[in-house]
């Protein structure tokens, strides 16, 4: 079934993944670092807290815009806000 997705915002190579499967993550924390062809570093984060359901990419993998990097389940309760 459909879960929330974290998408790649650009074409590039996944340089660093800061989350594991089934781990918790928090809003605005860097989850993926993607290096684009022109050398820019895109940092992927979410604006919600949640738990990773599955990681869809590995470090060093080439990704394209719109590709799902991870599936996650958003927290239903609010534990804090910026």
């Amino acid at each position: 079934m459909y879960a929330d997705v974290i998408l790649s915002p650009c074409h590039g190579v996944v340089e660093k993944i800061s989350i594991n499967e089934n781990s918790r993550f928090y809003a605005w924390k860097p989850l993926f670092h993607i290096k684009t062809a022109d050398g820019r570093l895109e940092i992927v984060h979410t604006c919600v807290n949640g738990e990773v359901e599955s990681l869809e990419v590995l470090e060093g993998e080439h990704v394209v815009t719109g590709m799902v990097l991870a599936y996650f389940k958003e927290d239903l309760f609010v534990i804090g806000s910026d």
């Binding site: 459909y2 998408l7 869809e56 993998e61 394209v64 815009t65 719109g66 590709m67 799902v68």
Partner: protein
Amino acid sequence: MFAIAKEKIRPLITIAIDEIEEDQHIEIMGIKEPFLFLIKQEKLFSYVNMNTLSQGIKEGSPLTLRDLLNHSKTIDSICKLNEHISLPVLFQIIGEPFAIIKEEDEKPAGYIRREDILAELFKQENQNIDLLKIILTSIPMGIFVIDKEKRIINYNDSGLKMMKATAEKVMNVQAECIFNGEHINNVFETGETILNQLQIRDETGVLVDYSPIFNFEQIVEGIVIVVQDLPMVEEMAMEIEYIKDLNKDMNAILSSIYDEILVVNHKAELIRFSDSVIPGFWDTDLKESIGKNILKLEERALFSPSVIRLVLEKKKRVSVVQETRNGRKILAVGNPVFNDKNEIDRIIVASRDITETTRLKTELKEMKKISEQYKKELDDFKNKDRFTKKLIYRSSKMEQIINQARKIADFSSTVLLYGESGVGKEVIAQAIHQLGSRSSKPFLKLNCGAIPENLLESELFGYTKGSFTGADKNGKEGYFKQADKGVLFLDEIGEMPLHLQVKLLRVLQEQEVIPVGSTSPIKVDVQIIAATNKRLEKMVEAGSFREDLFYRLNVIPLHIPALRERVEDISVLAFHFLQQLNYKYNKDFNLTPDAINVLEFYSWPGNVRELQNIIERLVVSSEEQNITSEFVSQFLSLGYDVKKSKPVITRVMPLQEAMDHVEEQLILLAMKQYKTTTKAAKALGISQSSVSRKYQKIVNERSININNTISSI
């Protein structure tokens, strides 16, 4: 078993060919029998059909042995019968034009034609022999005979069994209802036999042959349908049906989970797709794309990126969110299926339209945020409202004070509250704390006059371990540290010793404290609210209060007026305290309007605190529910107050106003004491009519006020 009539047995016309040359002419003109038999070495070995012979030989040409042999047929397949024949033998007779009758010594005695033997058979009336029936039922196949109107007109039991039908359901029923109508029509139209047609229905699985029945004009007049029962076929059929059902269910399940499913092979050629597809996703009908390369279709399609290309590249599961040109978002998951060699065999792409879900999620998030904000605001309002409800006042003076407190609450400025003892300085200090941004942080109160001078320092600033004998061995945090981020209420600030005033000044200036016994300062963020009932200015003049500290504290001075300066508040406060006590002790005491009047005349040197205590005393002492003015008077020692003290005026006010005020008090007191206007006028030394008029006016004003008070409570 039945016997053959002797007259039906025809003689065998034979030619022994042992000594005849092949080219030798043979004369057969005189032979009338339809069959001629050939003998070789005294054995019957073949026969010649005279009809076919005459058709095969040119008229007038001589007949040779070669011709005879060419037209002869072997006798081996011909049935040899005794005079008594059994039914199974009949099947042999049917296949051949005649049968040979042999004698007891096995020598041929003659022959009988098929039509004769069949005619014989039909004549056996009493023996219940239904030849056709026997033939039909004896064949281990289902047989159905169909007439010109395509109705079933005959069948055998095996047929019924195989088709799991009953006679009623079959006889005279249109054959199309049971068998393939298309095949039946074909046979009627073309006259060709259709063999080995697999017919699978819910309960049956059979192999069916459709064979035409021609009439003499070679026109199809009917069909014989031969059905073969194949248990394996039936099992397979059942399995296929089950799989079909399963397939249907799976399709339904999948299409309820996913909006579209595609299966492509390793060359990305479309093999199959689900019943439902996402509308507007492909610019072509997928049915026409079966077998075509889907990557080319994807290039033309109205979305990006391609999931199949990514799966082929990465050889693993890939999910993408594809965006169509019309703004829809499709989550597509491409799953590779590998063969034994670990190569991609198939790719299954399951897609789901998540446009609505995404939109709803975004909306939900927004709504959550808004509702959180509302909740927070509501809580703030509730808290403030709850607190402001605790502030009991009606006078404009107090309203001004509260409004000021509200404004101050938004800042962290130092506040100096002054006013007589018991006016409610602490209540105002709490209001400033509660209404402000520090409400969730501590509010600590320290009475500077109540703690011994030598302890005050350690209480305020804390101490480090081992600072002095008797101190807590772990040291202690001072009030300033404890009230960090909150409010510290320093009551009776005027009582603070001079040497501590210096330290307090340092805290206020530097925003840091140095605990006793320590040298390192600790940063603190505390809002100070100081309160005093003394005139600090005078103390500064007298040198008992540091001037610099006074100015440091006097950032926002707030004077709380005495209760007698805000008479309007007396009644509401009195009712409030009464209500509290009633609730606490589950009583129902009440103050009469007169009693309120009396309370309002009192000067309340102890202010609100005194009022609160007096109300408690009234409640505890009263025998009756209604507390009257007489009862109240006993506790307030009004007489003493009146006799001993002259009317108190605390501020400069217009003379007329002061005189009106005094006049009102005098008339009320006189009326209370003397009950009648005449006696009161006498005591006051004015006319009765003046007393009456003025008293009436006062009572009217008072009752209006009291009504207002009650309704506001």
